[in-house]
């Protein structure tokens, strides 16, 4: 009888617990729609598809109830917008998940994104502008047994395709485990120490069956790494080193070399000054969930770029540098300095200076004492073993100053040396040297109205010659903006291609809704985000973009 009563009490408790939170369920999300009406313009190389109108559309819907969350993302590509990966077709659900997030444990089933360390060993992420989405589909557990320790474990297949509205996962299965320890959180007496230390380690493995009848392909390919972060007062250093075991794949020509990745950041920061030196060495670290894939698909890991992601279009989309997946040694220096306000040079409001220098070179491939015919190891690579074969050089300096309450101005200078033989993006052979100068002013007409003018010029003696860009933007806060931009390839060696690319746009924002229209010509270029790039074709037409969050 007591047992029956106890069971009834427990059941009543469970029911009351499970019913109460139902009243507090919450739905959030966002939507984005891009529609293009495209015209054919053979002069600039723009071609309209047979459908004339193309669309990418997304909507994320998340539901949360207490510690439980679930969500889906609807996607439509009818068909996909110009330059977007052609394997995105149809409408359907591209992402769905359910998650319980407790105090110590978070468990996710379905799709999820994840990153171990810097991402060199595992990074499942979405970069929608690139058409890159390598979400994992499986299960993930995060466990924090005590403060200062976190363990992550996951197993899943990776999104590699979205065909006819159907999410298509990789053939390979990704398994990973990652642990990180924050010593200052773990050991109470270090909590107030100026010395902050964290360490971590990761193991990631891909399983893909093998059917090759010539070579033995490893079905299980492992990658492992360790990382450390140390901070002492204004100084900090963090580094990660990862190794990938033999991973013969389409991209590397089915060699059995080991791969490595090393990333070191050394920094100093104080008020008004920040210095960051980054050193990177990668070799044969392209790691995918399907060994047969190339391009931007099926990446398990992410190889970080060691150059600035430039926002001015002549600096950012003509000769942008992408991480060389075969391997490179790269260094970058970033110095941010604010000349104090009310000083002779700094002026009344101070002046922000930013200097950035990055260089990427090939790495040495040691080929002596190798027996390729036996083990298919084509060379041995060592960390930071650089050659004088330049891949990319990027020097840029920026100065921006608020002149008074109405005016703000900035000047920018870029110097690029781009190795177009290694990372070929145009027809020109070998190096492309270019310089870009940008001037920008912002004038606040009154509290709501402002006008921004941007003038850019790119100078190069090769490829398509000199370019200029002029942009004027009128903003009525917080709802409206109007922009006119003209890019002019005035230095093209072929006089018939000295074209203007005139583009007008305006946008309207209302609460959480944003509408934008663009009409005109856009030149072909390269879109790079974080060292990952995709070509963008020339277009001529109308683009409508709508975003909404809720």
């Amino acid at each position: 009888m007591k047992k029956i009563l106890l069971t009834c009490c427990l059941l009543a408790g469970v029911i009351s617990y499970s019913q109460n939170p139902m009243q507090g369920g919450n739905v959030t999300g966002n939507a984005e729609t891009n529609i293009q009406y495209l015209n054919t313009d053979t002069v600039i190389g723009a071609f309209a598809p047979e459908e004339k109108i193309v669309m990418n559309s997304y909507m994320n819907v998340n539901y949360s109830l207490g510690k439980f969350r679930a969500g889906v993302r609807f996607e439509s590509y009818l068909p996909s917008t110009a330059g977007y990966p052609s394997f995105y077709t149809g409408s359907g659900i591209g992402y769905r998940y359910a998650q319980y997030a407790g105090d110590r444990v978070t468990v996710t089933a379905g799709n999820f994104y994840e990153q171990f360390g810097s991402g060199m060993i595992l990074r499942a992420y979405e970069e929608r502008a690139l058409g890159l989405d390598n979400a994992l589909d499986g299960a993930s557990i995060k466990f924090r047994p005590v403060d200062g320790i976190e363990i992550k474990g996951l197993i899943g297949k990776q999104r590699v395709d979205f065909a006819d509205g159907r999410l298509i996962n990789s053939e390979g299965i990704v398994r990973g485990i990652d642990g990180s320890i924050n010593l200052n959180e773990l050991i109470p007496r270090l909590d107030t120490s100026d010395l902050r230390i964290s360490i971590g380690g990761s193991l990631v493995s891909r399983y893909q069956s093998s059917t090759n009848d010539t070579i033995i392909l490893p079905a299980n390919v492992g990658s492992y790494g360790a990382r450390i972060g140390i901070q002492y007062k204004n100084f900090y250093i963090n580094g990660e080193y990862v190794i990938k075991d033999n991973d013969p794949n389409e991209h590397n020509g089915y060699i059995y070399n080991k791969g490595h990745g090393a990333l070191i950041n050394l920094g100093y920061s104080q008020k008004g000054l920040g210095i960051l030196l980054t050193a990177k060495s990668i070799d044969n670290m392209s790691f995918r969930s399907d060994r047969t894939f190339e391009g931007n698909q099926a990446f398990i890991n992410y190889l970080p770029a060691t150059s600035n992601n430039h926002t001015y279009n002549l600096a950012g989309s003509l000769y942008p540098y992408a991480t060389n997946l075969y391997g490179e040694v790269a260094y970058q220096l970033d110095v941010l300095y604010k000349i104090p306000k009310k000083s002779f040079i700094g002026g009344k409001y101070g002046t922000d200076l930013h200097l950035n220098l990055s260089v990427a070179t090939d790495h040495v491939r040691h080929t002596s004492d190798l027996d390729f015919e036996t083990n298919r190891i084509s060379y041995v690579g060592k960390p930071f073993d650089m050659t004088d074969s330049l891949y990319n050089f990027d020097f840029n300096i920026h100065a921006s100053r608020k002149l008074n309450k109405k005016w703000k101005a900035s000047l920018h200078y870029f110097h690029f040396i781009y190795n177009n033989t290694v990372n070929k993006i145009t027809d020109h052979e070998k190096f492309i040297k270019s310089e870009v100068v940008v001037g920008e002013v912002l004038y606040k007409i009154n509290r709501k109205h402002s006008i921004r003018i941007e003038a850019q010029a790119l100078f190069t003696e090769v490829d398509r010659g000199n370019w200029s860009t002029f942009l004027i933007e009128y903003t009525i806060s917080p709802n409206w903006f109007f922009t006119i931009m003209d890019q002019y390839n005035y230095g093209n060696p072929d006089e018939s291609l000295r074209l203007h690319y005139l583009l007008g746009s305006f946008g309207y924002t209302h609460n959480r809704s944003r509408f934008m229209f663009m009409y005109g010509k856009q030149r072909a270029g390269i879109l790079c985000i974080g060292g990952v790039c995709r070509p963008v074709p020339a277009t001529n037409g109308l683009t409508f973009t709508f975003t909404q969050s809720f």
Partner: protein
């Protein structure tokens, strides 16, 4: 909590580490039909032999003596076969095949009969040959009978190549004088550790030939003492010679060498592996390597190979 967590985590890491990666030291898949497990060590270190052209111009003879341990007149035929071998050293070789003239190659002459005849001399390939030759009516009517290179002597019978022992000597003499069409050279490696061997053959076509030709390898046990009925007398420790104990790769008719038109000068290599029976030493074995016409069964050339 911390201790149990650390144990759990260490076990997870340990397990994961072992399943996470297949390290492949030798990526190339070896294209061979050899049983590489017989090779003691890394098979990639095995040196395949090379062959020079064989200057031989003589055709050899294979005496297939179809026999049985309960066949009372079979020892007489065995003596004839042995004499031919003795008379033609290095040119004539004997295979004593324990098979009879029936649909499955087994008659009471070959069957085990306890307690007097406990030894089973039969094997699948021998029985298959016996059954085939019986069914194809090539003259295999009883034991003892046999053939010399499955060679048809027109003067005796048009379609037959099985004869009683009384005919074997003159047929052998005739075969030994016919034109040689192919040469066989063989080299082998024996591995003490596995009691296995690799056999490599090089077959050279000396004349233009039409038809389908196979290479067949008999495993032969040199001698064994076992009961035999001999002219009505039970011999408990009869000395059996040249006992056919099977074909390599269990292939009754061997494997293809060439088909259609084959030009003179064509040389074809074949590799065989074989694990010797545990009860036999390599000294008590040899191999008969032959090229046969797959359509007529005729043995074009045969050589004896010892380890």
């Amino acid at each position: 909590m911390r201790t149990s967590f650390l144990i759990l985590f260490s076990l997870t890491l340990f397990t994961f580490n072992f399943v996470s990666c297949d390290k492949v030291a030798y990526p190339y898949i070896i294209k061979t039909n050899l049983d590489t497990t017989l090779y003691p060590g890394n098979f990639r270190d095995y040196d395949f032999p090379t062959f020079e052209s064989n200057p031989n111009t003589l055709r050899n003879a294979l005496i297939e003596d179809y026999t049985g341990h309960r066949c009372t007149y079979c020892p007489n035929a065995a003596i004839v076969a042995h004499d031919i071998e003795e008379a033609n050293p290095g040119r004539a070789f004997v295979a004593s095949i324990h098979a009879g003239s029936s649909a499955n190659g087994v008659t009471s002459f070959q069957e085990v009969l306890l307690p007097d005849y406990p030894t089973n001399f039969m094997n699948d390939q021998g029985l298959d040959m016996g059954a085939t030759f019986f069914q194809e009516e090539v003259g295999f009517a009883a034991n003892p009978m046999g053939n010399i290179n499955r060679f048809k002597m027109d003067a005796l019978a048009t379609d037959n190549f099985f004869y009683t022992a009384g005919n074997w000597t003159r047929i052998t003499d005739s075969v030994l004088t016919t034109t040689l069409d192919v040469n066989i050279t063989a080299k082998s490696s024996y591995f003490e550790e596995s009691h296995g061997m690799f056999l490599h053959t090089n077959i050279e076509f000396l004349n233009n030939l039409e038809g389908t030709y196979n290479v067949v390898v008999y495993a032969i046990e040199n001698e064994r003492y076992a009961p035999q009925l001999d002219n009505g007398e039970y011999i408990p420790a009869y000395k059996h010679h040249n006992i056919h104990i099977g074909n390599l790769y269990d292939e009754t008719w061997g494997r293809l060498v060439s088909s259609g038109s084959t030009a003179a000068g064509t040389a074809i290599r074949n590799d065989f592996s074989y694990k010797l029976p545990e009860t036999l030493s390599k000294e008590n074995m040899h191999f008969l390597i032959m090229v046969i016409n797959r359509e007529t069964y005729e043995v074009i050339q045969v050589i004896k190979h010892e380890l």
